[in-house]
């Protein structure tokens, strides 16, 4: 049976983990590779690395990091942040990334999704969508959710799927950081409409929220950062809970 995926997200700046981590058994809390290994050993199904520096001159640091991660862990991982060209994708895939995630670049020039999918296959192209509700209407935002666009989220999700995205990483800016639960209604609406997997992100605060986003939200995978980094929820506990609630995961 195809299982639901649990995906910790690591924010990377200049090759180091930021936003803080609090793992007792970690020698160096800033080293993404060490954290990646712990998550992988604990049963994370995939990892996402989001490079928040993402300037051209910092690329080399990211490529080095991707190589180190790929050598170390035996589960799939996605790299995102500042990727805008086919060449960017090629460098990261060659370094050992399994998938890449694009966001603002796709909004700016949607054809880039077709180009990347044609070159590397849809399976490795994740389109990240940051969405925020404005007067009850969901609009795509770019630049880490800071810049609003006039593009409606549901329509954009459909378009990126048609252009060849393999998965959608849907982050609700309204829910992100609230720890009040995922955006289940919007996630469900998009997941039901599309024929590609949807990864829900933003708002995880407790284990019930994960159950809800997999059932009511119809998400294929759920992503979270701080609750994992600060050990508020341990992945084996979360998977045990989901199993009891009838949501199957890889255990």
């Amino acid at each position: 049976m195809l299982t639901k995926r649990i995906i910790p997200c690591l924010d990377i700046k200049e090759g180091r983990t930021v936003k803080g981590v609090n793992f007792v058994d970690l020698r160096d809390a800033g080293d993404p590779v060490e954290l990646a290994k712990i998550y992988s050993d604990e049963g994370a199904d995939e990892l996402v690395f989001l490079d928040i520096t993402a300037t051209v001159d910092k690329r080399k640091t990211l490529v080095d990091l991707v190589t180190r991660v790929a050598k170390t862990i035996n589960i799939p991982f996605t790299v995102g942040g500042g990727i805008s060209t086919v060449e960017d994708v090629k460098v990261l895939l060659n370094a050992g990334a399994d998938k890449i995630s694009i966001n603002s670049a796709a909004v700016k020039r949607p054809e880039v999704i077709n180009e990347m999918a044609a070159e590397f296959g849809s399976q490795c192209i994740v389109v990240a969508i940051d969405t925020r509700s404005v007067d009850g209407v969901d609009f795509v935002h770019t630049h880490g959710g800071r810049m609003p666009t006039l593009i409606k989220t549901q329509g954009w999700a459909k378009e990126v799927a048609e252009r060849g995205a393999g998965e959608i990483l849907l982050t609700s800016m309204d829910h992100d950081g609230t720890k009040a639960g995922f955006a289940n209604d919007l996630t469900s609406e998009i997941s039901s409409e599309l024929s590609i997997p949807v990864i829900a992100s933003g708002g995880a605060g407790n284990m019930i929220h994960f159950k809800d986003v997999f059932t009511a939200g119809k998400a294929d995978a759920a992503l979270a950062a701080s609750i994992f980094h600060f050990k508020e929820i341990a992945i084996p506990d979360l998977k045990g809970y989901l199993d009891k609630e009838g949501v199957s995961t890889r255990v």
Partner: protein, 194 residues
Amino acid sequence: MEVAVIKYNAGNVQSVLYAMERLGVNATLTDDVEQIKKADKVIFPGQGEAKSAMKYLRERKLDQLIKELKQPFFGICLGQQLLCEYSEENDTECLGIFPIQVKKFPPLDKVPHVGWNNLENLRSPLLEGLDDSAYVYYVHSYYAEVDPKYTIASTHYLEDFSALLHKDNYYAMQAHPEKSSVSGEKILTNFLNL
């Protein structure tokens, strides 16, 4: 032990090389006929599109070479599909090691099939130490049909399909063992021990 990983126009072969490195095995990425012939084990990885991959293999006579090899041979992902007879992906004649058709998943649920799914009906020394609680990582839109003669494990997603195949010295797997955590490592180790 020398392991040759066949170099062709497939994506992300690096992860297979890293997996070998983690298992402490010396693997070389190569399209050199002599080097592939004399390797103890051959891995045929893959991620990409069937038609262009077959064209690439034919142009370099790697198709003939693959059919003639006698040592344990392991096709992964697209590598499994290419070992079959025919793929619906862009109407492609494949290598024909397995007399099996590769089909596209019907649009009844999400396609591609992405994520962790379990192996069923396991029967092969390649799968020693694993049972139907073993999960492996899939990313694919096409699948090899089940053939009781050659299917050594199946997985269910919309249909039962061949998770792993075996015939003579040829083994093949649709999921990515190099990305399938401990289950994948077990399968790779078993292959290296054949």
